[in-house]
């Protein structure tokens, strides 16, 4: 599948503010029959541009090119467009657009459509503003033509177009069909930010109603006439294959229709999920493990520690670390271990595929349109545009659905191919399939050293990382791997913001570990923020300096880091004592990290009991993510990021034994529950800069802030995730 290559064509252009954007207007505008749910049978939706339809029933439909997986993207994109359109928020609805890389590419990714890297708002900001402003201009010209008045005299506000001189006014719906026939303006004037009426305000989520009454449609909820449900027996180790299987018992189960071999295992097809599961349980499969990966986590870690003894490929070098360390008055060192982590979205991976005479249709919580479309097309011998991808709500993803190898989507397609397309198929992964299906956040080992000179100044920093590459072998390789360094393995480490004159970051990338790995919410920063920020506190302790004061000293060249750090420290009353009850130790810790061009600082307040158990009481967060399109959603994403990261800090760990994943469900792999959720406060730095990401940046600082708070309470720095609380027994 090496023909699918994604290159970062437009990011630089975009950031320079030149015309790297396409609006993807579709001319001549087409009026399409609206879905029945809109009410009046005669209502039609007029397509104003690729992102905007206005219905004769006065509905404004924003077409989202990005997946709504919880991060609030539907609401955010609609907020931007609706503000420039001057729509009434109540008339705005959002629909997921069907895949189309020409109209809906991620402008940071060149000609590819997809959602990831916390880019949805950032790459769409200018595009959605222009789409809204352009729609507004077309409504205005339609009204000017109809009323025979000057366009400049027309006012648009809250979904009403009016002309004071003649007293005429019209709703968007009344003008929709005429507006669609207006010429698309080549230049549009965007609002002065002081005139924003939705951006920066409290626009309510557009998906709240459907997600609180059970009507939101996830892939799991798709039913097609004649559809079969497939549950697959997967091999117990990565790389193992089917040697032989006996389906006689499975086929005897009521509801089971077919049993087929596919490259990923053996699929049992039934009329319903429960029958398919019973069928799979009754299968007898013999696996060929001759090419399987058979190591356990302990052996992998031992290997990584061995590799860390030798220099790796240099990812970043300034000054002369060899000389600095040789002449150091004091060297501080520590190493850190990070396990594999599963995304464990609440909706296990699933996908519906229907092969038809003239093409193929897919229903999915679709995050990686262009990659998945190319692969499915290749499998069926179709052109990509013959594969219609319907993007449904995703019940979480955290990176999992943007699979570089299209794993579960292709698995569903393979099943359809194996039955010659005789029925549409819904592939259902049970929780255990999802947990053991690989594509984990890679395991990593980090070794760090800091050199202090005779006057106690921090003059040298060496950081060595060992872990698998996510990108090598993926369509993103050309874009993100340079000179053997996978950018996402070292992000957060190679761009250390601290002013340390001698810095060396190097990387080992083992290539003989057969565990599939993938980005996991905040990617490299999910481990680099931990090792850098905890280690900096260890260095501060060795220097006898306050962690906030030391950071501020070292952040002279990074005002945004310093800004959020000061704000979080201030709101947390940093430096004041925390009250502890008898027998409990309490501490406050801090961390600051940049990821996806956003800056987040967090202060954690933690209680450690005598038995070593930890209660995270409160997290105070400060965020700088540029223009706050929807402040409440920013708070929501940071609250959620805190909980997601805390799960990994306290419990998250996928382990292998003889190549087999030991965890299968939420008992062995335990996200935090409500009783472990701290109080979270989120403070947003006011900014007029273009918006940056917010889906991921709340995650990285959490674990190091908590670990630093634990160290403040106990004197003990924790060097592995998840935390080993046995080290904290008083």
């Amino acid at each position: 599948m090496s023909e699918i290559i994604i290159e970062n064509l437009s990011r630089r252009r975009f950031l320079q503010g030149s015309a790297g954007l396409t609006l993807g207007f579709c001319l001549p505008a087409v009026a399409t029959a609206a879905a029945g749910k809109l009410g009046a049978a005669a209502a039609v939706n007029a397509e104003i541009n690729a992102f905007l339809q206005i219905g004769t029933d006065n509905s404004v439909t924003v077409m989202s090119k990005h997946l709504e997986m919880g991060q609030g993207t539907y609401t955010g994109l609609a907020t931007i467009l609706a503000d420039e359109l001057d729509a009434d928020w109540a008339q705005v609805r959002v629909e997921g657009a069907a895949a189309d890389a020409k109209r809906y590419n991620n402008t940071f990714w060149g000609p590819a459509q997809g959602t990831g890297g916390s880019t949805a708002m950032a790459n769409s900001w200018e595009q959605m503003r222009k789409a809204g402003a352009s729609g507004r201009a077309m409504l205005v010209s339609a009204a000017a033509r109809r009323w025979q008045v000057g366009a400049a005299e027309i006012v648009v506000r809250d979904g009403i177009v009016s002309h004071a001189g003649s007293g005429r006014k019209a709703s968007f719906g009344e003008l929709a069909l005429d507006a669609a026939n207006e010429t698309v303006p080549t230049e549009v004037k965007l609002k002065d930010p002081k005139d924003f009426r939705l951006i920066g305000k409290q626009a309510k989520r557009k998906d709240s109603a459907a997600k609180t009454n059970g009507t939101a449609q996830f892939t799991q909820d798709v039913f097609l006439p004649g559809m079969l449900v497939a549950v697959v027996a997967h091999p117990p180790q990565f790389g193992a294959t089917v040697k032989s299987f006996d389906a006689s018992k499975a086929k005897a189960i009521k509801g089971v229709v077919d049993v087929v071999q596919i490259p990923q295992g053996v699929a049992v097809l039934a009329t319903d999920t429960w029958s398919a599961k019973k069928g799979r349980d009754a299968l007898s499969v013999t696996w060929d493990d001759s090419k399987a990966f058979k190591l356990g986590s302990d052996e992998i870690l031992a290997k990584y520690k061995e590799m860390a003894k030798k220099p790796g490929l240099v990812a970043k070098q300034t000054g002369d670390t060899a000389k600095t360390f040789a002449g150091a008055a004091k060297v501080v060192s520590a190493s850190f271990d990070f396990p594999y982590l599963a995304h464990a979205a609440m909706e296990p991976m699933n996908c519906v595929v229907h092969l038809k005479a003239d093409g193929c249709e897919v229903w999915n919580g679709e995050q990686f349109q262009t990659v998945d479309q190319g692969r499915v097309a290749a499998l069926f011998g179709l052109k990509p545009e013959q594969v219609k991808l319907n993007m449904l709500y995703a019940g979480g993803s955290f990176g999992r659905r943007a699979c570089t190898q299209s794993d579960y989507v292709l698995e569903a397609a393979h099943i359809v191919k194996a039955i010659n397309g005789k029925a549409p198929v819904k592939l259902v992964w049970l929780r255990e399939d999802d947990m053991r299906g690989g594509y984990y956040r890679p395991m990593f080992h980090h070794a760090l050293e800091a050199a202090l000179d005779g006057s106690g100044q921090l003059v040298g920093w060496r950081h060595r990382l060992v872990g698998q590459s996510i990108i090598t072998g993926s369509p993103f390789e050309a874009m993100l791997v340079k000179d053997g360094i996978d950018h996402v393995s070292v992000e957060g480490a190679s761009n250390l913001p601290y002013a340390i004159p001698n810095l060396l970051v190097d990387l080992h990338t083992p290539t003989d570990i057969g565990v599939p790995v993938l980005w996991w919410r905040s990617v490299g920063s999910s481990h680099t923020a931990y090792s850098t920020e905890v280690f900096l506190d260890e260095v501060a302790a060795a220097m006898g300096k306050d962690p906030v004061a030391l950071r501020l000293e070292l952040l002279t060249g990074h005002p945004k880091h310093a800004g959020v750090l000061k704000l979080a420290a201030d709101k947390a009353n940093w430096g004041t004592p925390l009250k502890a009850t008898a027998g409990e130790r309490r501490g406050r810790g801090v961390a600051v990290h940049e990821s996806f061009s956003s800056f987040v600082a967090q202060v954690a307040e933690v209680t450690v009991k005598k038995d070593g158990s930890i209660k995270v009481d409160r997290i105070i967060c400060a965020v700088d993510c540029g223009t706050a399109i929807n402040p409440d959603n920013i708070r929501s994403q940071v609250e959620g990021g805190v909980g997601f990261a805390l799960s990994a800090a306290l419990h998250g760990e996928i382990t292998l034994k003889a190549g087999q994943v030991e965890q299968g469900n939420f008992d062995g792999y335990a996200p935090i529950r409500i009783d472990e959720m701290p109080v979270v406060e989120v403070h947003i730095v006011p900014s007029g800069a273009a918006p940056t990401g917010i889906g991921e940046p709340g995650v990285p600082p959490l674990a190091p802030a908590v670990a630093n708070a634990i160290a403040a309470a106990t004197g003990k720095f924790l060097h592995r995730m998840p935390f080993n609380t046995a080290e904290l027994v008083a």
């Binding site: 109603a209 609180t212 059970g214 449609q217 999920t273 609440m346 929780r431 469900n665 409500i674």
Partner: protein, 152 residues
């Protein structure tokens, strides 16, 4: 044929008696508001009410609920507590991905039906069976307090 009473309506389904209620709701009746998350009663995404009590439908054989009153997310607004809880959820924009929220709401409604003024500890006890991977817990807690206020 098995006869069930779901959301006040009689339903007849042709399934094996050991079939979990979850799959009867989802696959036989295509009432898809109730979600599959774990199949072992660990995550609460499939929570429904049986005679008013919160129950994990994924690990409840359909034969156990014959003759009992089953309520799902689709009809939870039929009673005042359910309506108020949904309104609180919307007012505070609790949801993110939304997949677990049917189960969260069913558990919250059961709690508030029995305890009109739950403390944080009561909420933690009643809601600890419902996982949310997006970690919307801060707002779940706030929305339950909000609903309690509206019900007072």
């Amino acid at each position: 044929m098995i006869q069930l009473t779901i959301n006040g309506k009689a339903q007849h389904v042709d399934v094996a008696p050991d079939t979990p209620l979850l799959w009867v709701l989802r696959d036989s009746l295509q009432m898809t508001g109730t979600k599959y998350g774990c199949g072992q009663g660990l995550c609460g995404a499939c929570t429904v009410h049986v005679d008013g009590e919160p129950v994990r439908a994924c690990s409840t054989p359909v034969s156990d609920v014959v003759g009992r009153r089953i309520t799902t997310i689709e009809a939870v607004d039929g009673e005042r507590v359910g309506k108020v809880v949904q309104e609180a959820w919307r007012k505070l924009d609790v949801v993110q991905c939304g997949y677990c929220q049917s189960g969260q709401i069913m558990s919250a409604v059961a709690l508030l039906t029995q305890n009109r003024k739950p403390s944080d500890a009561d909420i933690d006890n009643a809601m600890a069976g419902n996982l949310c991977r997006c970690a919307t817990y801060v707002r779940i807690r706030a929305a339950i307090h909000e609903a309690a206020k509206a019900l007072a």
